[in-house]
């Protein structure tokens, strides 16, 4: 069996003066041709992880292997990793062709070789007719394409993208995401994609590693991370809006276990994990806003008051208060209640997820 493209083994980075390690025992493997997203808020350790892989920082302990060989101690240039970050770092006084050729010229390749490589990459990026344009005349998404192209000509073993779309406007971001998906299909590169934006992770990655406080909280296939978060932090970081996370406890009801928090009582008979939790135990209940619906007050299991209405176009996010607990509900765009209005709420318990109130980990029956 061939070695994975990239392995991080017990990777740790302490900074002097830091209260906790910036990277705290990170363990992951990336297969050749795979795209892995490192997703997390600023300060979670994702950029430090990336700096360690590139070689701009050295780990305090642990190992980094590319194609089975440790690269710890190797100079960044010797690691054969391409890096693209949000500030395009394109030379604006040069043409597109000169920018694309830059990495090869400094490596002393022949003119003919360079011209061939530049032509191929420009074609791949759909910029074949823009080679003579000045970089300063390009728009944001074109600049970012040049930045990616400049890295691709050097044929890196791994491409690291650090928030590459952050500086683009919404429309250009959409176009670039599509472009990146096409590149993935056509050249099968191994990509590590660092982002705080779940949309980019969901739409580009085969797998997602969600990080907080220097640790990986979950690493799995994109759909799995989204559908069954293993950790409260993961649940709070995916979905728009993310899952409702309500702290409370499990009690025994007449017809099986119930979740209770202030005046909110929800039957959990359909939630297998609820049966293994002893009564009185603190838990966190995760409910997707899409798994809640608004009803007329009369026939609803829960009575609530609307506290906030946020239209989104095709749908509306309604915040309601029921039994002293705030819940977000996603409804269709047409059915929009008024703030202050009394409404009924129905929940689909089949989609509930229970987390331990102590470890913050998902409870599994």
């Amino acid at each position: 069996m061939t070695a994975p493209k990239l392995e991080l083994i017990g990777l740790r980075k302490d900074f002097t003066g830091g209260a906790i390690p910036a990277v705290d025992g990170v363990h992951l493997t990336v297969a050749a041709g795979e795209t892995l997203a490192l997703l997390g808020p600023s300060g979670c350790g994702k950029s430090t992880t990336l700096n360690l892989i590139v070689g701009m920082e050295e780990p305090s302990s642990g190992d980094i292997r590319i194609d089975g060989r440790s690269v710890v101690g190797l100079a960044p240039a010797a690691r054969n990793i391409g890096l693209v970050f949000q500030d395009y770092a394109v030379f604006t006084h040069m043409t597109v062709a000169q920018n694309l050729a830059f990495g090869l010229s400094v490596r002393g390749q022949s003119k003919a070789e360079i011209a061939k490589a530049v032509g191929e990459v420009a074609e791949l990026l759909g910029m074949g007719d823009r080679l003579r344009a000045r970089a300063r005349d390009l728009g944001g998404s074109e600049l970012q394409r040049v930045a990616i192209g400049r890295t691709l000509v050097t044929k890196p073993a791994i491409l690291l993208l650090d928030e590459p779309l952050s500086n683009l406007e919404a429309g250009a971001r959409l176009t670039m995401r599509r472009e990146l998906r096409r590149l993935q299909r056509e050249i099968g590169l191994t990509i590590i994609y660092v982002t705080h934006d779940q949309i980019e992770a969901l739409s580009l990655a085969d797998r997602i590693a969600v990080m907080s406080a220097g640790k990986i909280r979950q690493i799995d296939k994109t759909a799995t991370v989204y559908d069954t978060p293993d950790h409260v932090f993961v649940a709070s970081f995916l979905g728009s809006p993310p899952m409702n996370l309500v702290r409370g406890r499990i009690e025994r009801g007449a017809a099986g276990p119930v979740f209770q928090e202030q005046g909110l009582v929800l039957p959990l008979g359909a939630v297998a994990a609820a049966r293994i939790v002893p009564p009185g135990e603190p838990v966190i209940l995760g409910i997707r806003p899409e798994a809640l619906g608004l009803l007329p007050t009369g026939d609803a299991p829960l009575q609530a008051k609307v506290t906030l209405v946020e239209p989104r176009g095709p749908e509306t996010v309604v915040t309601v208060e029921t039994g002293g607990v705030a819940l977000k509900v996603v409804t269709g765009g047409a059915e929009r209640p008024q703030e202050g209005q009394a409404v009924g709420v129905a929940a689909d318990p089949a989609s509930f997820i229970l987390f331990s109130g102590e470890s913050n980990r998902r409870l599994v029956a």
Binding site: G171, H196, R312, P314
Partner: protein, 379 residues
């Protein structure tokens, strides 16, 4: 209590009628060769969250700076509750402006940062601190009052900056992209909080942002600004459903609206040809299309297209791209006549691959029509 507003705000209905909190008329400003604002007029209702929405360079910041009195206007009138602001210094305008850089005093604690404007006004130390602490409670940041800014999270710093502005209790808040330097998740959380807060203290907010989702989520009224002019003033859902022109339609909504070349043929009761299909003319377009040029551009929101059985479908196409987005996915399809995006459940999208043939239906009653040349809404 300091958070209570004068009777005026309680009495004034949102839609106006009495003098609005702020009214600007014919605002123009030129910086050297650049026309930054060109005859901008709008009103900000009392106790409303009004949002200036537009792409970078539209004139949002210039508008706010003119209202605050930080720049001199070339032409136009700014009135606050009926009072002309001409010649008034920024400090005399009863306005607080909050920028996105969240500049806090680095060597002052959270409490001292919030209390500072009150001390400047000559309130006693005790009173200033008591008020600051009360404000901190409203903003859920009581736990950072003893801490220095560098030990606070981005969200906490933002709330301290907000608290410092709010504690002055001005007649109008100007916020210039107050959330743009924050992470995506925090931004979504704080915008809901900003709206809650604005409701709670019923102050008047004018907030500038390039983010349509933010505008939709918090605004009572949106002023759409583009290329130095006001393009449309509407509540968020109206802006989304009835954009005044093609560019506004594109700017508001993700995934972007489909804009498709279409042709109206009046014969036999009328047909619309678009995306390689012929369809009956929906009632809301009929009158306008008879008067307009036969060629127009149809605006179709991605959620108004759906996959269908070939027998009932109107449009045939091939899958070009699938973008998974959690519970839903965006599908891009094309045929010889058009490229279309639609939104569907992630489970349905997983069964498809680029190159697959699909059939679509279109909710004709929801399409917009734009003039092919001017881009203006026909119907």
């Amino acid at each position: 209590m300091m958070l209570t507003k004068p009777d005026l705000s309680e009495a004034a209905p949102l839609a106006g009628g009495t003098a609005p909190a702020l009214q600007v008329d014919g605002l123009s400003k030129r910086f050297r060769s650049t026309q930054a604002l060109d005859g901008v007029s709008f009103g900000v209702p009392e106790a409303s969250m009004t949002v200036l929405l537009g792409p970078a360079g539209a004139g949002k910041t210039t508008t706010l700076r003119l209202i605050a009195g930080l720049d001199r206007l070339d032409a136009g009138v700014i009135t606050m509750r009926g009072r002309d602001m001409a010649g008034l210094q920024p400090k005399d305008r009863d306005i607080a402006m909050i920028f996105d850089n969240l500049a806090l005093y680095p060597n002052k604690s959270g409490l001292e940062n919030i209390a500072y404007p009150l001390s400047l006004r000559g309130l006693s130390r005790m009173e200033a601190k008591a008020r600051a602490a009360e404000m901190a409670k409203t903003l859920h940041i009581s736990h950072v009052l003893d801490r220095l800014p560098k030990t606070m999270s981005g969200g906490e710093r933002q709330r301290v900056a907000l608290g410092r502005a709010l504690v002055r209790d001005p007649g109008l808040f100007l916020l210039d992209e107050p959330l743009s330097s924050l992470d995506a998740m925090l931004r979504i959380e704080l915008r809901a909080e900003l709206k809650r807060l604005q409701r709670e203290i019923s102050s008047t907010f004018l907030l500038a942002t390039p983010d349509f989702a933010e505008a939709m989520a918090i605004a009572d009224r949106v002023i759409m600004l583009r290329a130095s002019r006001v393009v449309q003033i509407a509540d968020p859902q109206t802006l989304y459903d009835y954009p005044a022109d093609r560019e506004t339609a594109r700017f508001v909504g993700a995934p972007e609206i489909n804009l498709v070349a279409a042709r109206f043929e009046p014969a036999e009761g009328g047909r619309i040809h678009l995306a390689g299909a012929a369809m009956p003319v929906p009632r809301h377009l009929a009158a306008a299309l008879v008067k307009a040029a036969p060629e127009f551009e149809a605006g179709i929101r991605p959620e108004h297209l759906a996959l269908a059985e070939p027998s009932t479908a109107q449009i045939s196409a091939k899958v070009v791209d699938i973008e998974p987005l959690g519970l839903k996915s965006t599908l891009t399809v094309n045929n010889a006549n058009a490229e279309l995006r639609l939104v569907l459940a992630a489970a349905a999208a997983r069964k498809l691959a680029p190159g697959d043939s699909v059939s679509l239906t279109l909710d004709l009653n929801r399409i917009s029509a734009f003039d092919k040349i001017t881009g203006l809404r026909i119907a």
